[in-house]
């Protein structure tokens, strides 16, 4: 759908570009106002967006955020209802390919001028940038990044295994797991039992075995790549991981097992960077665990990208339009991204933010370094399990196969690979 740019917004955009900090006052006529919806209501997510709101108000804006607690889908239901009613929020949380899908049902704001003024495009991972300009123009802005395949190692489990080297490849990972098992670690892999949890095991396995096949098969859904031997190998690796997990987790959240992980009852955890914040909030210390990029067979870090973002919906009101421009500037601002990521434990979207200062953890520094390396070696790919690689319908069809495979040990890796290809075909 073509996005029409009103002259007023173009003016607002260029005015903003010329007079960045003084923008709010320069506008004069319309006090910037922003209506926003997101699912972030509690915990560090809630704290971070509240802090962002404070900054928005400091710049003279009126911040009207309505959080929809619960699953992302509930936030989407509210968004859908508002769009159908012709009253979309000025900006809303939305991420990955859903940005492209939703931008077809209601007009969005062309952010090209503001983005160009901030010189933002140069400092964003290329695959990530693409998601936020589905028809060639920026309509959404990423806010923070997590890697979904970080490897968390329990210090006490490492002691039990008498190991101190962080595994780099899957072979080393498997060795360490065996050593842990032999050393008395009940379950070398800590885990939850939710769908994204199972999905993360698979995407970490495949991307670690071959980022190139991950890109063609999972991101581009190439038929030939979906039948590649690497897919089978990834399922075989997932089976190994599943055999090392506690089968009793049912459908529990991964955080249920964090104490056993820190105690050394469980050894390794393949989880998103957000687990650092959860561990810290649960009162555990940085000495209790180590964080490293997930296993990668070619030795260079593989980064499975998950990024939260805001999409901007077209509104006629001058104050909302001014609010959108102000919000866009804030979201791209390195100082704001620093503030936000330091609260949530993510890393900034901008690859030029310096993380050496205080307020950043080693895990965050390592994650940011991994992202830079991964972009340089073209190994930064989009997460399937967290709805970055495909639209929700396709993702769900693929995760069905993966979650059934993780829980049903009678399915062979080759069967799972065939089923995955079939699921993709029928969901197309």
């Amino acid at each position: 759908m073509p996005i029409t740019t009103t002259r007023r917004r173009l003016l607002a955009g260029s005015a903003a570009a010329l007079a960045l900090p003084a923008f709010a006052r320069a506008q004069g006529a319309a006090k910037p106002r922003l209506t926003a919806i997101s699912q972030w209501s509690a915990g560090s997510d809630g704290a971070a967006i509240t802090a962002l709101g404070k900054k928005f108000e400091e710049k003279g804006g009126v911040w009207q955020h309505s959080p929809v607690p619960g699953f992302t889908t509930e936030m989407m239901n509210k968004l859908r209802a508002q769009i159908i009613a012709g009253d979309p929020p000025a900006c809303s949380q939305l991420k990955g390919p859903e940005i492209a899908a939703w931008s077809k049902i209601a007009p969005t704001v062309d952010l090209d001028a503001v983005v160009a003024a901030a010189g933002y495009e140069k400092v964003v991972a290329p695959d990530l940038a693409k998601l936020h300009k589905p028809a060639g123009k920026w309509i959404a802005l990423p806010l923070q990044i997590y890697s979904t395949n970080m490897l968390f190692l329990s210090k006490r489990a490492m002691d039990k295994a008498k190991a101190d080297n962080i595994p780099v490849t899957w072979a080393e990972f498997n060795d360490l797991a065996e050593k842990m098992k032999a050393g008395g670690v009940a379950y070398p892999v800590a885990n939850g039992g939710t769908r994204p949890d199972d999905g993360q095991k698979f995407e970490a396995a495949l991307a670690g075995i071959s980022p190139a096949v991950y890109r063609t098969a999972i991101m581009n859904l190439d038929e030939k790549a979906l039948k590649a031997p690497e897919i089978k190998a990834a399922f075989a690796q997932v089976r190994k991981i599943a055999d090392w997990m506690d089968p009793n987790v049912g459908a529990q959240h991964f955080s249920t097992n964090l104490k056993r992980f820190v105690d050394g009852d469980m050894g390794m955890m393949i989880m998103g960077g957000w687990a650092q914040g959860v561990l810290r909030n649960a009162g555990f210390k940085f000495e209790d665990f180590m964080i490293a990029p997930g296993p990668s067979d070619n030795g260079k870090p593989v980064f499975l990208l998950n990024a939260d973002a805001f999409i901007f919906w077209q509104r006629k009101e001058a104050d909302l339009q001014a609010g959108q421009t102000l919000m866009a500037q804030l979201v791209m601002d390195p100082a704001i991204q620093t503030m936000y990521s330091q609260i949530t434990g993510s890393i900034p979207v901008r690859t030029d933010v310096d993380l050496s200062g205080e307020g950043w953890s080693d895990g965050q520094r390592r994650t940011a370094a991994a992202l830079k390396d991964a972009i340089a070696s073209n190994q930064a790919v989009l997460s399937l399990a967290h709805n970055m690689a495909q639209e929700n319908g396709m993702t769900a069809a693929m995760i069905d196969v993966i979650t059934e495979y993780v829980k049903n040990k009678t399915i062979k890796p080759e069967q799972a690979a065939t089923r995955l290809a079939e699921a993709v075909e029928s969901a197309r």
Binding site: T73, M76, N77, R80, I83, I84, A101, W102, K104, I105, G193, T194, D246, P247, N248, V249, G250, A251, Q252, E391, N392, G393, A396, A397, D400, T403, E404, Y405, V406, K407, N408, S426
Partner: protein, 291 residues
């Protein structure tokens, strides 16, 4: 007219409003199920394509098989449990009111709570299995929750716990309404308690039995919150039920057309239960009038 105003306001207005809602949204859903709607409703016609896609999906097939198993096991077992409880309570025991309240109490608990509590109880690492292990019997196994073949039975267990009290209450009312003369006559004829129940009392209960079956069946078909809280369709997708599939298609996968088709299929299953019941009621009433 003025005298009947309260009646109109309290009965007819809400009734008409709900009927209008029900019919409008049912028709709306049926219409959506024939359109290519995904994120938002759109016009267009795709014939039965949504239906064939749903029927061919692994999720729906698993959900349908589960419904057959869960529906029949749940209805039969809750009927049996309710009947046994009712007969036991009917023995003029002490504290009947207290016991009756206890058995009925689960009905007052929301399904989400039931599902969550049972998910902890049935979790082998936390609940009953761990308790028995800690007591010393370490070879004891009760891990249905994580066994994909048995997991559907955990939902049966929780559902029975929740609603057999309801069957009990209806049966107890039925037992109490059996004509005392009939019982006395049987006693004079020398019938023992077992025979009395089998030959005299239980046959009078069958209209209640059918009512209980129908109510429980429609509950079974529309089960959603219980399974969502207890297993969330897992392990893997082993405990999918139709209502979960509808929700998943509509809101998780943003496939409104297919979700609507699955919802209409659920409606058809429900009608397959309700229409024969309505017909049976109709015949009964006709008979009563003619008798």
């Amino acid at each position: 007219m003025i005298r009947r105003l309260p009646e109109i306001l309290t009965i007819w207005v809400p009734l008409l409003l709900s009927a209008a809602h029900l019919i409008t949204f049912t028709l709306w859903t049926i219409w959506i199920s024939f359109t290519p709607s995904t994120l938002v409703p759109v016009t267009g016609w795709v014939g039965l394509r949504n239906y064939s896609a749903v029927a061919a999906s692994r999720n729906w097939q698993i959900a349908f098989d589960n419904l057959l198993l869960f529906g029949s096991a749940f209805v039969l077992l809750s009927l049996a449990t309710g009947l046994i409880l009712a007969i036991l309570l009917d023995q003029r025991i002490r504290c009947e009111n207290l016991l009756r309240s206890i058995f009925l109490y689960p009905l007052a608990v929301s399904f989400v709570v039931t599902g969550t509590v049972w998910s902890w109880l049935l979790n082998p690492g936390l609940g009953i299995q761990k308790l028995v292990h800690d007591l010393g019997w370490t070879s004891f196994r009760f891990d249905w929750l994580i066994d994909r073949d048995m997991a559907i039975w955990t939902i049966v267990i929780a559902a029975i716990w929740q609603s057999s009290g309801f069957a009990m209450a209806l049966f107890l009312a039925g037992l109490r309404s059996v004509d005392a003369d009939l019982i006395k006559a049987a006693q004079i004829d020398g019938a023992g308690p077992v025979r009395m129940y089998r030959r005299v009392i239980l046959p009078t209960l069958w209209p209640i039995t059918i009512t209980v079956i129908v109510i429980q069946l429609q509950f079974a078909i529309s089960t959603f919150d219980l399974v969502r809280a207890l297993t969330n369709g897992g392990p893997g997708i082993a405990t999918q039920l139709p209502a979960l599939v509808v929700y998943d298609l509509m809101f998780q996968r943003s496939l409104l057309g297919r979700g609507a088709a699955a919802a209409v299929l659920m409606l058809l299953i429900l009608l397959a239960v309700l229409l024969p019941y309505a017909a049976w009621r109709y015949v009964q009433r006709r008979r009563a009038i003619h008798a």
